[in-house]
């Protein structure tokens, strides 16, 4: 197993964990942050798959803006899922 496969595997497993955490958490604010982590890992994966422009987009939109939009939405509504 070369380094590339190893790093990708670690990242993918971390991404899956973050995604499951985002789905399971009752605290929506933390869930939004977990989603941001998913996006961040996806953007790293894009980068090591040699797609730097997609990586920039994913990092700024996925991890930055969409998380902010989610957090604003939570601010307008409720933090805890019933």
């Amino acid at each position: 197993m070369d380094l590339f496969t190893l790093v990708s595997l670690i990242l993918i497993i971390a991404m899956l964990i973050a995604a499951v955490v985002a789905a399971e958490l009752k605290d929506l604010l933390s869930a939004a942050v977990a989603l941001g982590v998913v996006s961040l890992i996806v953007s790293i994966l894009f980068y090591i798959l040699q797609a730097p422009d997609v990586a920039i987009t994913e990092a700024s939109i996925g991890a930055g803006l969409s998380m902010a939009v989610l957090i604003f939405a939570i601010k307008h509504t409720e933090r805890w899922e019933k």
Partner: protein, 243 residues
Amino acid sequence: MKRIVAAILAILIFIVLALAFVKIPFGNINLSDYHYYNPITDKQTSDSVPQHYLVDGKKDTGSTNIVTAVVVDYRGFDTLGEVTVLFLAATGVGSIMYIFEKEKRRKVRRANAVVETASQLLFGFIVLFGAYIFVHGHLTPGGGFPGGAVIASAFLLLYLAYPRFHAEHKTLNVAESLAGLTFVIAGLLGLLISGSFLYNFLPFGVPTYLFSAGIIPVIYVAVGVKVGSELTGIVDAMMGVRE
């Protein structure tokens, strides 16, 4: 019970799709195994579409960055569509959040001095970086979408540091309209000059120079401005601050 069914369903879909994706070659494959068929001239060609992009991309479009060549020139119509999708998203959010217009702003705490000063300092650099990304879209990795997103994240920083900050809505609207019009007019000019929409009618110049690749930089600047102002508009609408 519901959760178990959902989990089983998700795993099933995953297995079905994974079995399909396993069959797909990944990584270094011999691209020349593929050939394509031109339905208009009814001819088979010897090289594959990705191979053509890689080999003849620079000659066809004048762009050094092949990704940009594909995104803005070969498949520029899709990019126009995607820009429209973002425009629609911003319009839709604006339409939905309109209801909160008359709602009074809640009292907000000021962020501390360090955050305020640092964001003031950083704002200019982030905008500059975003502008760099989309101006050099045809030369270096990046382009209108990443550049616009970076600019929008600079505005996001201001929103976070100054709770009372809000961008002028009219200016944003005008900026995104003008940028969109630039894109469509560039397309229509191509139609007028050579008979095909979005045709690259400007001279290509010397590749690797800033002024090269014909209309690609023009379109990418328009896309960058548009994406930046739209994403800022979405953030602004979500903050509930109105004109």
